[in-house]
């Protein structure tokens, strides 16, 4: 499925887009300006440019949801109907990501469900795979291995609060910067850093809890205890 998506994305890039036909790529500000005047093609170009990041953001917040694509489309729909009110004081991407975050929170509020995944949900095989990732310096190779790893990691992340989980996924897996996260989640930059650092510790604690029954010890605390 992922391969199909990637090949589709590659073929899309091969197409000549109206706003990239010339040597000079039209910037977002200009496209926003044109969209505000009702130019649908300009807005479509904005969608193409930002769809991957919006998709990643939505997927990062609504983990394991079948509605990621639907919500991501909804984000652009809201952006289209609200673009006339966008004053361009912030970057278009930041404005768009804020819409995405609000849309995701609305969705979660309406659904009122957060799948409860218990720590025992990880199979023995998954735990040993996790163990392999942590003890190896090389990341798993091949898209399937990485997709499977994502699934295991997502389950591990369920031990965290919703916001800490989102922060870690968006920062480390989806590649958002601390500044971007602070802006779109309405948090102080320092707060984001502290929460990320603490969440990292918690996820490793959860990993150790899983290893405990198996009696494995190589991921034991590297430092001494602080009194």
């Amino acid at each position: 499925m992922n391969n199909v998506r990637k090949s589709m994305a590659a073929s899309a890039q091969a197409l000549t887009l109206p706003f990239q036909a010339g040597e000079k790529k039209v910037d977002d500000r200009e496209l926003v300006h044109l969209s505000q005047q009702g130019d649908e093609a300009a807005f479509e170009e904005l969608v193409r440019r930002h769809q991957q990041r919006v998709f990643a953001l939505v997927a990062g917040i609504l983990h394991r949801s079948d509605d990621v694509e639907d919500i991501a489309q909804q984000v652009f729909l809201k952006a289209y109907f609200g673009i006339k009110k966008f004053d361009q004081r912030a970057a278009f991407s930041t404005w768009l990501y804020k819409i995405a975050v609000n849309e995701c929170w609305d969705y979660l509020r309406k659904r009122k469900v957060r799948p409860l995944i218990y720590e025992a949900d990880l199979s023995e095989e998954q735990v040993s795979r996790l163990d392999g990732i942590v003890s190896s310096t090389r990341p798993p190779e091949g898209p399937n291995a990485r997709t499977e790893t994502r699934e295991i990691v997502e389950r591990m992340l369920d031990v965290l609060s919703e916001q800490d989980r989102q922060l870690l996924v968006l920062k480390e897996i989806e590649g958002f910067s601390v500044q971007e996260l602070a802006e779109i989640l309405h948090l102080n930059v320092n707060t984001v850093k502290v929460r990320l650092f603490r969440a990292r510790g918690r996820i490793i604690d959860a990993y150790r809890r899983r290893l405990k029954p198996a009696g494995k010890s190589h991921a034991a605390p590297a430092g001494d205890r602080k009194e």
Binding site: N2, R5, K6, M8, A9, S11, L15, E40, F43, E44, V47, Q51, Q52, F55, A59, G60, V68, E69, A72, Q73, F76, L77, Y80, F81, I133, V134, T137, P139, P140, P143, R146, T147, T149, R150, V153, L168, E172, I173, E174, G175, N190, V194, L196, F197, R198, A199, R200, G201, I203, I204, D205, Y207, R208, A219, P221, A222, G223, D224, R225, K226
Partner: protein, 165 residues
Amino acid sequence: MATQSEFGHSACRNYEARLEDYLHGELRGADAQSVIEHWQSCPGCRARFEDAALSLRLLRAAEPSSDPGPGFARGVMARIRTAENEKLAVRANFWQPFVSFGWRFAATATLALMALVSYNVAWNHPAQPKVAAVRPTEGLDLLAPEPVRVSTTGDEVLMMFDGQR
């Protein structure tokens, strides 16, 4: 001050944000030096920093979300067009009751007008002319013939009064 974890690891609160920066290689010069010095002398921070590095390895092994592909943008634009058509339909539906009421009102008014016109045509009597009755003002003679009724417009009465003078 330190935050304690269930495995006994803890990092100093003042250093958590800086350790996060250091983890990503974002500290330079004196800032980096102060973190390194602290890190060497504080076992709690060292342990938590190593945990953080471990988490980095774990998280970065996961596959990021892939691009949804060109169909996505087309899907978005199709949804936009559908939503715009729905908006137009809603707007039209909003005025529909008023338009329908207007038509009904116009039809009823036309019927009423037609009824009035036909009534007027069917029962048309010649209008009675206005008549001014001239009676003597002095004495009352019962045998006197009825005064002559003449068609008048009102001006004649004034003229007669003028004549008596």
